[in-house]
Symmetry: C2
Subunit: 203 residues, 2 copies
């Protein structure tokens, strides 16, 4: 049964979507092509009708993860000023912690990406830059105030620090979730309390 071009494109998208989910949930190397194709509703062998190698899919899935995530984030933040605080609360939540497959690509892929090809690393770096730019755009709406050390932090510095903190908190929280759920929550809440303040005034 030969498929229409439209159907082929649709099938390909199904594979990329499955990959974007599974790679974020389990990591690039932990997901095999057989399981991935099965999850997309196909058999193993058909993979190479769409991609030249696993690496090619990894790159595309990485890009797709960032695209959908940052697009949605930017739209939400542009909607109204108070959405910044809401977005931070949503980020630092148990729901986000427990659903990495649909969550922040940075937190899910940051460690894995170092073991991937140059193309994948480039896609990741591009996504991260976009991410930081979006944060910076909305942080700049609040005036930078003096640091405790009596120096002014630029908006760029503040957005990168905020990114480091929320990504770090999410990863740490996920890592101890099973064995130490109390600590897992504590990590998220520690940053959550501070993030609300950060979104208003900046420190």
């Amino acid at each position: 049964m030969r498929l229409t071009k439209k159907q082929i494109i649709e099938n390909r998208k199904r594979i990329v979507d499955a990959a974007a989910y599974l790679f974020r949930r389990d990591g690039f190397d932990a997901v095999g092509l057989a399981d991935l194709m099965k999850s997309a509703g196909f058999t193993h062998g058909g993979f190479y009708n769409h991609f030249s190698s696993k690496d090619a899919l990894v790159e595309e899935a990485c890009r797709a993860s960032f695209d959908s995530y940052t697009t949605r984030l930017a739209a939400s933040l542009d909607a109204s000023p108070e959405h910044f605080a809401k977005a931070l609360k949503a980020y630092l939540s148990l729901a986000h912690r427990d659903d990495p497959g649909n969550g922040c690509p940075t937190a899910s892929l940051v460690a894995d990406v170092q073991r991937q090809s140059a193309c994948v690393q480039a896609a990741f770096a591009a996504g991260l830059n976009t991410y930081a730019a979006i944060l910076g755009k909305h942080l700049s709406k609040s005036l930078p105030i003096a640091d405790a050390g009596s120096r002014k932090a630029t908006t760029r510095e503040r957005s990168l620090r905020l990114l480091s903190e929320i990504v770090g908190a999410m990863m740490l929280s996920r890592a101890v979730k099973k064995h130490d759920p109390a600590l897992s929550k504590e990590i998220i809440n520690a940053s959550r309390a501070h993030a609300a303040a950060e979104s208003l005034s900046g420190t």
Copy 2:
């Protein structure tokens, strides 16, 4: 050729040390037993005279990484008050970024640990708790001041946030190091500038 007991213990330690280095540098799953044993100066087959499985070594190496790292850190911090700022500067440095094999076990293993056995996750959680306790002990020497949002952050909250931030910054910096070295440095420096202030007054 049978060895003395002392030599056997020494050989076992060589394997654990090699593992503690390679696992932190490349990740648990990316390091094969053949390469690991070769790196320790042995051949593949001898591995099972020392460990029942790879998982058993992963657990021991995880513990060993945390032990050596936190012991050294605690000793340094106890030496004198100004060592706290020094330790933070050393953490947020290019030297640390470029030597994960001897660096912070948390930053190296946090993502991998989720795919490992319960024993390994327990070892990680224990190490992280020790880590946070050490930071807390030294943060408590400086008085907590009001957050921008006019609430007081506890020492515990501050140590967890600090941990999230420096671990996150290190991971992000490493992830984009190859493809975007400028951003990599920027990430480290953004947190470095703030960390100095944090170590004195707390925000």
